[in-house]
Amino acid sequence: MATKLIKGNTAVVIGALYAGSDCFFGYPITPASEILHEASRFYPPLGRKFLQAESEEASINMCYGAAAAGHRVFTASSGPGISLMQEGVSYLAGAELPTVIVDIMRAGPGLGNIGPEQSDYNQVVKGGGHGNYKNIVLAPNSVQEMCDYTMLAFELAFKWRTPVYVLADGVLGQMIEPFTFPEKAIAPVIDKTWAVNGNAETRQNLVTSIFLDFAQLEEFNNRLQVKYADIERTETRCEQQNTDDADIILVAYGISSRIAKTAMDNARRQGLKVGLFRPQTLFPFPKKQINALADKNVTFIAVEMSNGQLADDLRLAISCRRPVELVNRLGGNLVTLDQVMNKIKAVAGK
């Protein structure tokens, strides 16, 4: 087990390389640029392909090309760049192409600032572009998971032939933690059943998202929904701590879940029965697991760096059966420990 201190953004690139990614296309944007830098440093010495694109529209379309050829490609960006990519992501979903997109969220709207936020939740988790599609969304909360989830993202992208996001934020990108390198390095094999790889075996293949015939397009859309239902059934991941006897359950992903964990530990020390529910997949949202908790008399507190985007999904997931409180900060600020503690105490009536 090789362990080193590694920065979150670097861990993403390490994960991609060990997962057999051979193409990276990206455009600079803080706080995701280090992924671009690290890719430019580590892809070429291995003969793997790195290119700084002219825009995020170009990056995502370069991804579309490499993915259509069956290669393991990824890009990384942040809010404004992700907004620009949405057309391309819709095409990826429509053409059922596997691509990994890493979003190191920053504060918006507009140019906003480069501080951390979680405000891309809706545009990433709900699809974001036009059409009835969804993306698989993985939410790491440590440097180790930045790597591990990037590797998982490639696996899922190819298993389901769909775009997969790794949704992180400026803090996770910037922080350094001990990190254990992957055990395996994957040498990918091109799937000749669908890829268009410029060879005899794939000459008859076609990648497209057009269905002129309304009935056919409806059929295709319905098939996509079946795929998403299968994904919900099999790929949902979450982590629970102290939820068994909890009266109050903090719900948070990414860096907010780390802050929530500290708050939970503090609250437990003060005798308050507080638990933590961390969705590791945001789509599929861990509905079954959260509903099992909602069967009990609990209050949920969503801890997020966005305007209730997670809280809304939580309410939807539990059909508003339990109160959902919100603790949040916007504008590049982290939720503070005091904020969460105060809310916990208010809910507990202390």
Binding site: A2, T3, K4, L5, I14, L17, Y18, C23, F25, L46, G47, K49, L51, A53, E54, S55, E57, A58, S59, N61, M62, Y64, G65, A66, A69, H71, E87, G88, Y91, R106, N113, I114, G115, G170, V171, Q174, M175, I176, E177, P178, A185, A187, V196, N197, G198, N199, N205, L206, V207, T208, S209, D213, R258, I259, A260, K261, D265, G332, L334, L337
Partner: protein
Amino acid sequence: MTEKIISSKGIYNEFPRKGRNNPAPAATHYCPGCGHGILHKLIGEALADLGLQDKTVTISPVGCAVFAYYYFDTGNIQVAHGRAPAVATGVSRATDKIVIAYQGDGDLASIGLNETLQAANRGEKIAVFFVNNTVYGMTGGQMAPTTLIGEKTVTCPDGRDPLTQGYPLHLCELIASLQAPVFVERVALSDSKNIRNARRAVRKALEVQRDGKGYTFVEVLSPCPTNLGQSAVANNDFINEQMIREYPLGNFRDRTEEAEPVVRPDSDFTRESLDTLFELDSIPPSIPHDDAADTETQVKIAGFGGQGVLSLGIMLTEAAQAASKQVSWYPSYGPEQRGGTSNCSVIISKQAIGSPVVYNPDLLVAMNRPSFERFKNDVKPGGIIMYDAQIGDVELPPGVKGVAVPAQDLAEQAGSSRAANTIMFGVMLELGITRLPEAAFARALEANFAKKPKLIPLNLKILEFARQWVKNNVR
């Protein structure tokens, strides 16, 4: 709306992709007299003659040629409006095979102009075939960047007026202003002589691709009788008499002889190469260390940019890692970094670490007064503030111990004015605040200066100097 293209090489014999209830399986979807069919035929023929079909990926744009994949007997990808050069770049970089981007004037010269110029400027190994028919065909004849002055379209019903709609865009001339392209030529499909020339140019472009030499661009002046509201004959006259005046035919660049093949390396997927790249064989074993205490140490380090605040944090993180502790380092960045001050949080623990942001430090290292004032009241009761003595007199919060370290002075005495942070590191070690073993501190210094190994002995000396200072001055 259907025209037969005489069965041709490189093109499927029948077009089943046209759909389930296709009454004319060997007829194209193009209008009678349309130039797309002719150009398809020329490209298909060249691909077949050069034996390239098994190696080629054709990209269908958005526009009337959106269904080019009905016809080309190659690998096929359909893409978003204007993005063909970017997609082609992705395919080419990934596969190093032959890639064709087939595009209309709205697609290539309007919405996709940036992708067009950038791919050309990078000299991507792609063949771009550009159909210039002066209008948006598919969407019903709107003005295109290439619409002639005075030409009427549905969005310039009185004719294109340069004062409000600008001038026709000359793509070959634009592309030929760049250095990378290998072959740039403008041809027309308006009569048999022009078609013969077009056939030659198409073939030449694909030969450049076969030889892997780089970017080729062939602009094809092409009829769209439907949207120009003309007969096929009149449309050809329009091309010959008006379009060619605006868009002269001819070669704009031919470096096919001199250009060298662009070679792309194979990807290396072996674990050995990855492990070497990340220097995994040079990871030193962890330093044995037993620390029964189960407490967590939270450290905040703050000062001006340039005082080594962030790297002091990283050294401490390295030391903790060397002793197999859980540890996290998080820098202030972005909005917090204004005014040239910076800070970082380090948490050292036996347990998994929650928030990496330190709110209430056990130890505050303040390298300047603003940092001292900003964070002093956050320090936990019983905690310690190490601050640079240059700050002068300070007022400490109750229950907090202060250690005034003349860090800058000591660093200068020890031989490096830039090593105030190493002094602080040594004081931390000697005071035992972090309970990390001595060897871990030395290891951290070595790791921190791994890229400038000459500085390691000096900094080890400075570390020792700081420890001596503590022994002599701090009780």
